[in-house]
Symmetry: C3
């Protein structure tokens, strides 16, 4: 696609293009990071991007930049095609989508798929090889089920949802529209609930279900458990990375972002727009307010106020934690100083 | 099921019902938590349950309560059917099981399953779609294998065990009776054993096997590795949550409970009834005594005495850790105080 | 295999046998650890091995030992067949391989496998039951694909690679030769990249690919994400344990060892021979120098110098961390001492 065509498509999509220079109007094949780009590739820069200085050395064919005169001049000087965008990262997302249209899998049901009785399939669906779909499952139109997926009975799946290979959806779960379930994820397996008895752990039957609202994404090998009673609920637009555990009865608000290897224990409640960084742990029944942020590896008990940024284990305000952590690495000095002071005192 | 029928069934099961009041003998369809319950649902309360106060506001149809006069009177006043149980949680587990009988999958072998030579299948088994069972595998009666499961050669599986979709069992493993393997779990993959050589890591062949005794449950996407020689052994009645790693040669006693995202490194030994909370790490060859408890995110090296409760990394006694953690968040003050004292001292 | 045959085979393989004594030239069936061994089993000892003392009590049939006179004499005294090896662990690895030749799965393509158009298959491959292979995939000779594996379109796989059951390989990935992908691992799923917008998270298309060089091993349920642009690259001979997350655009050098439940965030760069112990976290764009080591549960930001050994979160030099951790558990005392000193000062 020539750069001029790309610009036209971006304008149609209202992607925030403010101005541009076509340079030699190069043919652009795909995207690249600035330090690895070739002349058929397009890159982008944001304010503060570490690669800004390298624009002069890059072989990139075209560049999306923020409204910074200096960057525009650098591009012009090297005859690099450029466009100024109000949000270069967002414009770049649009460009990658234009250059890499999602492969459309074959419509219909692969002959090797096994579909049980009373299943309802919407129009224009695609069901891949060796898929299993249990009784009374309902699947909305345009939904794509990749090979090897197993869907237990009574599951309801909205339209335009995509379920990647070998993922498993357990009975009675509801998946909204435009969700993405990545490979080997497990939705709705039974919560870890056991009652101690003199003869050992007795399973608490997990009779609830998991509800994913619309536009929810679940990463590869992540597990979302169903509860004893009621539901585990993931709010609209919440994105969950790989290898995340979401326990029985957890409720998340809309638009949360949950990074890899986070574990959220049973009954915890997250507000809207909560961000949990990698390997965070959230204890049973903890409450996290809207737009709170937990930095990586922090461990949250009790409740976190809306908008708070926390770190550490147990989690404390991030700024305090930074100072405490710095002091932690000086504990040997602190101990020594204290010993000396005591010695002086006793002399 | 009417509440009176439920009571009768609970008594037949010796579920510890001490007294009851039928109220309007409501039809009960399923369980619910007190704050979300409707009049066809049953809930339960325990001593200290945060929802106790809300009984007066609940729309619940019936309630299992501990032997507390005040709760009984509240229920009576609202004409809520009630039963006092010696262990309300345990009685509730029985009730959920009565109200939600496990779906019985179709008996027999699905035509799409691939069964290799010399496989022995017990009576009344159920083998789902697209299952693969390798040579010389033996499967006990009443065992259920859900779609997409892969069982390598020479595996032995006891009776009444259930293996969920897309789980994988590697060669030579032994699974006892009444085990549950959840979706996408991997039992018996090779341990992470490599010998450093001048030309790189050389694999140590992992020729051992994994043994799960009876009533063991393994969570979704959990991995239990086989060792170089000998076995990895999970004791009877041990319950393992999702995304747990159990390394090569680990031995656990009976009745342990291992929460999500715990990692147990090679050769570690757990006694009976050990409880590891979420994201705990146990180092190579660590030893954990009977009924010891590690709180979430703790990291265990060396050995932990029976009955001890530990926290932190490296793990120390929980009570000490609580005090140390509280002091940690005061490190900036401690540092400042110390600086002032030194200044005073040098004046 | 008689011990004498084993010795002959080890010599052919240049396994570092320095001397030996045949004893009764026992028939050896497999390997065992010294404390569990029977007379048809072989064990090994290294310098400092905790089991050294137990050689006199062991029922082992043969033993590989380091060049320590005392051990040789103990073995002779008990008529245990013995061999001194320059690296007993390495010799033991050779022995286990000799005693346990890898099962050779049936050559060819199982009739239940689904192979799309334009797929290129090398000679002597083995493709198991219910495998799915997408369009234009190329697979090298002698490669083994176990049942249930799903390979998306345009993947290239080298020769003598083994992919275990139910693993998933996403579009455009390149796997080198002699790689091992363990069960339920996911290679090349989309990176966790979203752009915040007023209407929620907007997906950044992940158009890059994952490249595994040769002799790379990926553990069960581990996930290696593809990036927005460019590639995620795992260097030759790098070994990755179970449940590991490797984010979009990560680059590792040759011969790294990455233990279970490690998470490496997007854009991090590891040098050669880096060792990350269990549950380590590496932040976005962190840089870890050649042969650096991070002990379990440490959290790495910024950069780590080559050869450094770090611990803790945030990671600091291991020796410092050990002292700081020891001091941490004395924080209550430190606080008390300080209070007393202040009191004295103010008197």
């Amino acid at each position: 696609m020539h750069f001029s065509e790309l610009i036209r498509a971006l304008k149609e999509r209202n992607a925030g293009v403010l101005s541009y220079g076509l340079g030699t109007d190069p043919e652009i094949i795909n995207g690249a990071s600035l330090d690895q780009a070739q002349d058929t590739q397009i890159g982008f820069l944001e304010k503060g991007n570490a690669l800004t200085a390298s624009l002069s050395e890059s072989d990139v064919g075209a560049i999306i930049i923020p409204n910074i005169e200096e960057l525009r001049l650098k591009a012009e000087k090297k005859s690099i095609a450029w466009a100024v965008a109000s949000d270069p990262r967002l414009a770049f997302a649009e460009i990658l989508e234009l250059l890499n249209p999602r492969p459309v899998p074959q419509k219909g049901v692969h002959p090797s798929a096994v579909i049980e009785n009373e299943v309802t399939l919407g129009e224009d669906i695609s069901i891949g090889a060796n898929v299993f779909i249990g009784k009374k499952v309902q699947i909305g139109s345009k939904t794509i089920i990749h090979p090897g997926v197993v869907i237990y009975e009574n599951v309801v799946i909205g339209e335009s949802t995509e379920i990647h290979a070998n993922a498993v959806i357990h009975p009675n779960c509801h998946l909204g529209k435009q969700c993405v379930i990545n490979s080997n994820a497990v939705i709705g397996s039974e919560g870890f609930g056991f009652v101690p008895t003199p003869s050992g752990w007795r399973k608490m039957p997990q009779t609830g279900k998991v509800i994913l609202e619309s536009e929810v994404e679940i990463g590869s090998c992540s597990t979302i458990d169903r509860p004893c009673v009621g539901q585990t609920l993931i709010g609209t637009g919440t994105k969950v990375d790989n290898l995340v555990q979401i326990g029985h009865g957890v409720i998340t608000g809309k638009g949360c972002a949950i990074a890899s290897q986070v574990g959220i224990a049973g009954g915890a409640i997250l507000g809207e727009g909560v961000i949990l960084a990698g390997q965070v742990g959230v204890a049973n029944r903890a409450k996290i307010g809207d737009r709170a942020i937990a930095s990586s590896k922090s461990g949250i008990h009790g409740s976190i106020a809306p908008g708070e940024v926390v770190s550490g284990y147990p989690a404390i305000p991030n700024r305090l934690w930074l100072r405490c952590s710095a002091a932690f690495s000086k504990l040997p000095e602190i101990t020594r100083s204290l010993r000396e002071l005591k010695k002086e005192g006793s002399e």
